[in-house]
């Protein structure tokens, strides 16, 4: 049973179709990337899933059924638009929002103590939020997102405007959550973070699904049919299946014919006693795939 599932959802604002027939499912316990350029429809998709917006058509299932008030207590959401009550004390703010997630006051208090300790905020607990630095406010926001121990965690652009220290902190938190078995949906346009963290992903552009699947599969699917080779004694000429040879920065890129396989080329190289230092099937980075999908072919789903 998927933790989070949308099927053929459509949402139009005025004349603009923000989400157009989007379908994907998030499996329990994985980190799932919801990718797309700015304005692609990621946040709208999340808001539909969380019942903030109603879709024009389509079906949404969260934690095994339609969204309900009880389920809100089992979901943690870090919105893209960050912000907390500015005019009240840090601990008061965390406690209020934690009790709104269904925690009783005692549990909220105990967990808050632990989190304040973990995020180094104990000394600031009595300060008003507007007196805290941006980094501290981000940590406070994270505490609010996690304090009720959600089964499903939805984080929207978690790394935007963060310095490297805080970026690392959020990554650590997300990994820790995955270890605990929390399902995580991460909306972002920062591909390097996705490559580092996500198991599977969906890529949306202009409201439509462009790519969907496991990270490795997608990269294999988009491999350029090229192998990178570095040898100590040079490469022989006339390798079977090789269309073109291109020297790149000390190594050589062998562009293969469509019917050739990297495996056959490797076999031939070994047979011809080439001393290999490197043999790598060139997989594109997610960044390259992203740019290719978004700028190049917009018609395939």
């Amino acid at each position: 049973m998927a933790s989070f599932e949308v099927e053929h959802i459509v949402k139009t604002f005025g004349s603009q179709r923000a989400v157009d027939d989007v379908t994907f499912a998030v499996e329990p316990g994985e980190i799932f990337g919801l990718l797309g350029p700015n304005g692609a429809g990621k946040t709208t998709t999340i808001r539909i899933a969380l019942d903030i917006f109603k879709p024009d058509s389509g079906r949404v299932a969260v934690l095994g059924g339609p969204m309900s008030e009880d389920k809100k207590n089992r979901i943690g959401y870090l919105p893209e638009e960050r912000g907390l009550y500015q005019d009240i004390r840090l601990e008061q703010c965390i406690l209020y929002l934690a009790t709104l997630k269904g925690l009783d006051r005692h549990t909220a208090q105990t967990r808050m103590e632990a989190y304040l300790e973990q995020f180094d905020l104990v000394a600031h607990r009595r300060k008003k939020l507007k007196e805290l630095s941006k980094g501290m406010q981000q940590k406070a926001q994270l505490i609010v997102t996690l304090i009720h121990e959600p089964e499903l965690l939805i984080v929207d652009e978690p790394f935007s405007a963060l310095d490297p220290v805080n970026t690392q902190m959020i990554k650590d938190v997300l990994r820790e959550q995955r270890r605990k078995g929390t399902t995580i949906v991460m909306c972002t346009h920062q591909m390097n973070q996705v490559e580092e963290l996500c198991d599977r992903l969906v890529l949306i552009n202009r409201g439509r699904v462009m790519l969907y699947g496991a990270l490795d599969e997608i990269r294999r699917q988009y491999r350029s049919h090229t192998v990178l080779v570095r040898s100590l004694n040079g490469l022989p000429d006339g390798l079977v299946g090789v269309e073109r040879v291109e020297p790149i920065n000390g190594s050589v890129a062998l562009h293969l014919r469509p019917d050739a396989s990297p495996q056959a080329v490797l076999q031939e190289l070994v047979q011809r006693s080439v001393q290999l230092e490197q043999f790598e099937v060139a997989l594109p980075t997610l960044d390259e795939i992203f740019i290719e999908v978004v700028t190049g072919k917009e018609t395939t789903a």
Partner: protein, 392 residues
Amino acid sequence: MNKIWLVFKYEYLRHVLRKRFLLGLLSVPLIIAFSIGVGFLSVLVTVDTRPVGYVDEAGIIRVVPPESLKTLRAYPDEAAARAALDAKQIQAYAVIAADYAETRRVRVVAMDASMMDDPADEVRQLVRQNLLLDEDEQIANRLVAGPQLEIRATEDDRRADERNVLGMALPIVAAILLLTVVNTSGGYLMQAVVEEKENRTMEILVTSLSPEQLMAGKTLGNLSVGLTQLGVWLGMAGLGLLVVVRFLPWGQNLNLSPAYFWLTLLTFLPAFVMIAALMAMVGATVTETREAQQVAGMFSLPLFVPLWFITPLLQDPNSTLALVFTFIPFTAPITLPLRAAYSTVPLWQSALSVGLLFASAIGAMWLAGRVFRLGMLRYGKRLSLKEIFKRS
């Protein structure tokens, strides 16, 4: 239900425990008490407590009532009285001329003409009492007291008499107090809604509880802040009234009809909700507190309109103007109780007015809920009217 309570508690305590609120709560009655006190003080300072002298050339004063012994002083002739006046021992003196029986004339001499009224009264009373000495005591007393006008309403026991100043002023004071409370509560509510858009807490909130729960908690919380304010003020006013009734003679025949109280309650309750809902709606459509405050005046201003027309309304509580104000939901909360306090309002008019108010309150709540749902996550764009009324 539990979450409504949490929101309610948060919104209520947030305002009530603030220094600003407590200051505002205490400052209004204190300012009123202070200005009343200053008024009394200025009267006390200007009142002349020196006795009034009289020269009885006609020989008609045979008895001076014991309560007048301190305020009246007899002189054998005008020269002695004049000397006392020049020495500032008395504030004025009266000469009851020898031919009083024919002329019925009393001459009052004072240093300051503006003080003429009170000393003359004092002497007039004395002359009256003495002239009536031979009459039956009851008749004498009645004649001395003079007539007192009392206007009675035709259908019940309400009456307005000259001495019931407090009863006349009360509906107006109540109206102003209630308007202030409606405005503060509505203002708090609006602020509370805009604030969460401004600081972006809205998304966390709507993924924690339903927009309906959030709105219910907020509305109840902020209305309770207003009611607390009203309660404290009314409590203080009640205390003040007790003092007035206890120590001031004209406070004792304070008299207002129960109809007035019921109508006040029935008009202010829906008006309260209507204004609060409209202000919350404004909060949901705009994105900044400052912008919201500018728009909010639009809703609270019409409430005050009847107070600008208070004179024509009181002169003719059944005029066309009064009728029109009764049936406009914004002006009804002041107009209807005011009319009921000073005249007889036909039942159908009261019923229609209150009915319209309740309908408006429900309509405003529906509108606010809808606008809130549509507008809660809009940061840049404002909602258009078309969107609000579009079916979805």
